[in-house]
């Protein structure tokens, strides 16, 4: 899934580089809230873990083997912001030291694997958790669904990038179909491994699973007369940042996903009703591109001309959906959050 140099044209590479830099900058600031001053060693070790786990091959079928990408897994285990940092560092090291993924494509790779899979995996996991019973074991199916969806969504974002700055004249429909098909399969593998891995960690150290924070029942003490009573609240922790930052990633991530989807759906809307015309246009463009010194940039233009007006409508639609979502989220959060989350996270600190 690593994108090499020359896959996307220079402007797209620079643009995704900017997106990646902004994403990592935000993650750097937010990760402090997840791991405080322990960020460097813990994120470093988690990055080494992701790096190692990507080497863990499992047989898929005849002669082929797959391996984990780890975006959703890292998000569930250490929290989305730290996970973005870990995955970005893994990609940076792979690009610089292992020539795995091109240097000009580093931004693209970070945007796709480091940010998209992590954010989608996290948002979906939280969404599924919201409807499941509030106990640590719920994290297992939730993380599996998160991993399942994160992979094809990253593939779709790749198709979108390819539509704007790809160096090929593939039919977008065919590319979308094949990317989606393959990556849904990969996603199933990712989901199975992520779920099983998370379940193994939840069984041993549930306090280490970031997504399971606040899901553990409050500590009950058995009194002398045999009745159960809630344990007295422990002294306030000096660093109480555990339950922070659960709303914003959801909002930002959801927005990104929705915008990406809106773009893709609008592409379908514009190209599918008239496939023949689309192909003809593609060929007409080919004739032009050959006279043009910068064929790549002409293709970028082509994508914009076709996509923007529809895309704007899509973005407006997303804005409405986001507004509705925010209201809904506030309602749900207002009901479940204050007592459970705060008390739960304090218990977890005590356990640790």
């Amino acid at each position: 899934m690593h994108v090499p140099d020359g896959f996307l044209n220079a402007p797209t590479s620079v643009a995704t580089g900017a997106v990646a830099a902004a994403g990592v900058a935000i993650a750097l600031r937010k990760a402090q809230g997840e791991l405080d001053e322990r960020t460097a060693p813990l994120a470093g070790l988690t990055a080494a873990f992701v790096f190692a786990v990507q080497m863990l091959n499992f047989p898929v079928g005849v002669g082929t083997s797959g391996h984990l990408m780890g975006g959703a897994l890292a998000a569930v285990l250490v929290g989305p912001w730290t996970a973005v940092l870990c995955l970005s560092v893994v990609l940076l090291v792979q690009g610089l030291l292992f020539a795995d993924g091109g240097l000009t494509a580093l931004g693209t790779n970070i945007s796709l694997i480091g940010i998209t899979t992590v954010v989608v995996g996290w948002v979906v996991t939280r969404a599924v958790l919201a409807v499941l019973p509030k106990r640590p074991a719920s994290v297992v199916p939730a993380s599996a669904v998160g991993a399942l969806i994160s992979v094809p969504v990253a593939a779709l974002v790749f198709v979108l990038l390819f539509a704007f700055g790809g160096e090929a004249s593939l039919s977008l429909g065919a590319l979308t179909a094949s990317m989606l098909g393959w990556h849904t399969l990969i996603g199933i593998g990712e989901a199975v491994i992520t779920g099983l891995t998370v379940s193994a960690v939840v069984a041993v150290r549930p306090d280490l699973v970031h997504a399971a924070r606040g899901l553990r029942p409050a500590l009950q003490l058995k009194q002398a007369d045999g009745t159960l009573a809630p344990a007295p609240a422990p002294e306030p922790e000096p660093v109480g940042a555990a339950s922070r930052g659960s709303v914003k990633p959801l909002l930002i991530g959801g927005g990104v996903v929705a915008l990406a989807l809106a773009g893709i759906v609008s592409f379908f809307a514009s190209s599918n009703p008239d496939g023949l015309e689309y192909v003809a246009e593609g060929e007409g463009f080919l004739d032009r591109a050959r006279d043009h010194a910068f064929g790549d940039f002409a293709l970028a233009d082509y994508g914009e001309v076709g996509g923007i007006p529809v895309g704007v409508a899509g973005i407006l639609g997303v804005a409405v959906v986001v507004a509705v979502g925010v209201v809904l989220f506030r309602l749900v959060a207002g009901k479940s959050r204050p007592a459970g989350a705060a008390a739960g996270s304090r218990q977890e600190n005590a356990v640790r």
């Binding site: 020359g6 060693p41 080494a48 190692a52 499992f58 870990c86 792979q94 292992f98 020539a99 593939l170």
Partner: protein, 255 residues
């Protein structure tokens, strides 16, 4: 993403060539500029890519990196070579017959484009990794204003990648010595439990590392032990590659 990971120490080839002596941040910038020039070169100018390859061969010669090493490490590009080879078959547009196969003209061009630019990028990165120590590379990143926190995470990752990989290897040996072998998809559960255990071990190791750092006076930032300063000569030497490439690219665009 291939099996080549985890041999961190063998990537850097100790040497004392002019390329080895250049400060890492200068080299990273030169590499980035070179690859950008390559990516921006119009694909129809086939000769330009040949010249780029010669330039890289020249750098490899100066750095005394044997061709065999470069070729062996080029395995990482196998997945996208497959993709590039598929392009002529799945692309649209006018078709030509090559050896009885109906191939898309534009697809051939695209496949060539991905193959040429991707390969040049991979070889350039291999040269950087072969002539720059990991420690130097991290210092170079710091010098390039990559946020300290990110550099710290990267340095911990590089430091412990081998440790974690060795941990994983021991767990595999333990599984295999008990007669387990992952043969089909049903065995994925065992492998995943291994991954879970590996995470717990890695995270706990991180906690111990942090405590060890605290007890040695860590106060939130790693001390900078050495600063590699770049002289004007360094910059000029490193600029030779991207400048030569830029001349080629300009000629190619104007041709």
């Amino acid at each position: 993403m291939s099996g080549g990971h985890g041999h961190g120490h063998s990537l850097y080839r100790v040497g004392d060539s002019p390329v080895h002596r250049l400060p890492a941040h200068v080299k990273v910038l030169a590499l980035l500029a070179f690859v950008l020039v390559v990516v921006a070169t119009p694909r129809e100018q086939y000769w330009a890519f040949g010249v780029y390859a010669l330039l890289l061969a020249g750098v490899a010669g100066v750095a005394a990196v044997p061709a065999g090493v470069i070729v062996r490490r080029m395995v990482v590009e196998v997945p996208f070579v497959v993709f590039a080879l598929l392009m002529p078959i799945v692309s649209q547009g006018p078709r030509v017959d090559v050896l009885g196969l109906s191939l898309s003209e534009h697809g051939l061009l695209t496949g060539w484009n991905i193959l040429a630019k991707g390969t040049l990028g991979v070889v350039a990165s291999i040269l950087l990794a072969a002539t720059t120590s990991e420690r130097g590379l991290l210092l170079g990143l710091q010098k390039l204003r990559v946020p300290d926190r990110l550099v710290e995470i990267a340095s911990f990752m590089i430091r412990y990648a081998d440790v974690v990989a060795a941990d994983m290897r021991r767990m595999r040996i333990a599984r295999e010595s008990r007669g387990f072998e992952a043969r089909h998809l049903g065995h994925v559960r065992v492998v995943a439990q291994g991954a879970g255990a590996l995470f717990v071990r890695s995270y706990e190791r991180g906690e111990r590392v942090h405590l060890a750092m605290l007890s040695r006076g860590y106060a939130g930032a790693m001390p900078l032990t050495s600063v590699a300063a770049a002289t004007r000569t360094d910059w000029l030497r490193a600029a030779a590659l991207p400048l030569a490439a830029a001349v080629v690219a300009l000629t190619a665009v104007l041709a």
